[in-house]
């Protein structure tokens, strides 16, 4: 749900920008929240630290999910990168009435998640990172595997 709303907001903004993005080349980047580093969560001691202490340092989580007798508080960091090059853009100077687009481009979206599992007393039982944000990159060629 969180990602759906963030995606909708992004889509609205990018549609607004789409009219501007008609140049020969363009780099776009979209980020959701700031990355949480391993050093930022060193203070968390499983079995001792409470969820209130975690949120006081890291801010409120993006999602709370019930799994069995635990509650997972999840922090998201998403990074998306996109590059496009329109090789037909220069033709408008030679053929003013019809300038076909020849667009190559590509990108990706990656999400880092920091997850804290709490028990019924809201004490952290374990915490873990899932790091995929580095999977996003600017790409020129969409071909290949």
């Amino acid at each position: 749900m969180t990602r759906t709303i963030a995606s909708l907001l992004c889509a609205l903004l990018l549609i607004g920008q789409a009219a501007c993005l008609r140049g020969p080349i363009g780099w776009q980047r979209v980020s959701l929240n700031q990355r949480i580093a391993a050093e930022d969560v060193r203070f968390i001691i499983d079995g001792q630290t409470s969820l209130a202490e975690v949120t006081a340092r890291l801010g409120s989580p993006d999602e709370m999910v019930a799994v069995g007798d635990h509650v997972l508080a999840r922090y998201h960091f998403t990074d998306g990168k996109y590059f496009r090059a329109n090789f037909g853009w220069g033709l408008r100077f030679l053929i003013p009435y019809y300038s076909p687009d020849l667009v190559l481009g590509g990108g990706g979206i990656g999400t880092d998640i920091f997850q804290v599992a709490c028990d019924a007393q809201w004490i952290v039982r374990d915490h873990a990172f899932a790091t995929h944000a580095n999977s996003s990159e600017f790409r020129l060629l969409p071909f290949g595997d």
């Binding site: 749900m1 709303i5 963030a6 980047r29 700031q34 209130a52 949120t55």
Partner: protein, 143 residues
């Protein structure tokens, strides 16, 4: 009639080509898009004053709803009911061929016990304000 013949010498052609190139470059520059700065948000930004009126062990679901409104989502966990309030802030900058969009979420979770009384309020530290940025790369300024 003394008509001046067109100058077809290499230096004469260069004199014509250079201004044409400069004009062409200027046209290309001005025909590419300019810049845009856009801002959007989802949900109300709740201030600490509103949150301080919610008392742990005292406030009920109705009290919370009267301060924060109906929740965007309700989660059931461990026999607890959790009200989830969304707040998103988006800032987007676009200059010539570079574009960057930053989104920040500052959600609020209110946890109720089985009697429907507030057990905990998860709002935490406010995240720092978003910046308008247009540079999409990590270098040379960092992410």
């Amino acid at each position: 009639m003394n008509r001046v013949p067109p100058d077809h010498t290499p230096s004469g052609r260069a004199r014509l080509i250079r201004p044409a190139l400069v004009l062409g470059l200027l046209w290309a520059l001005f025909s590419t898009p300019g810049c845009a700065f856009v801002r959007g948000s989802y949900g109300e930004d709740v201030n600490q004053g509103d949150l301080s009126s919610i008392k742990k062990g005292v406030s009920t679901r109705g009290d919370v709803a009267s301060v924060l409104g109906a929740p965007d989502r309700i989660v059931e966990a461990n026999g607890h009911e959790i009200f989830h309030y969304y707040h998103f802030d988006v800032k987007s900058g676009f200059i010539l061929i570079f574009s960057r969009t930053n989104i920040k979420s500052d959600d609020i979770f209110v946890i109720f016990n089985q009697a429907g009384i507030v057990e905990d309020l998860v709002s935490g530290k406010k995240k720092p304000p978003l910046e308008f940025q247009f540079w999409p790369f990590d270098w040379p300024f960092g992410p």
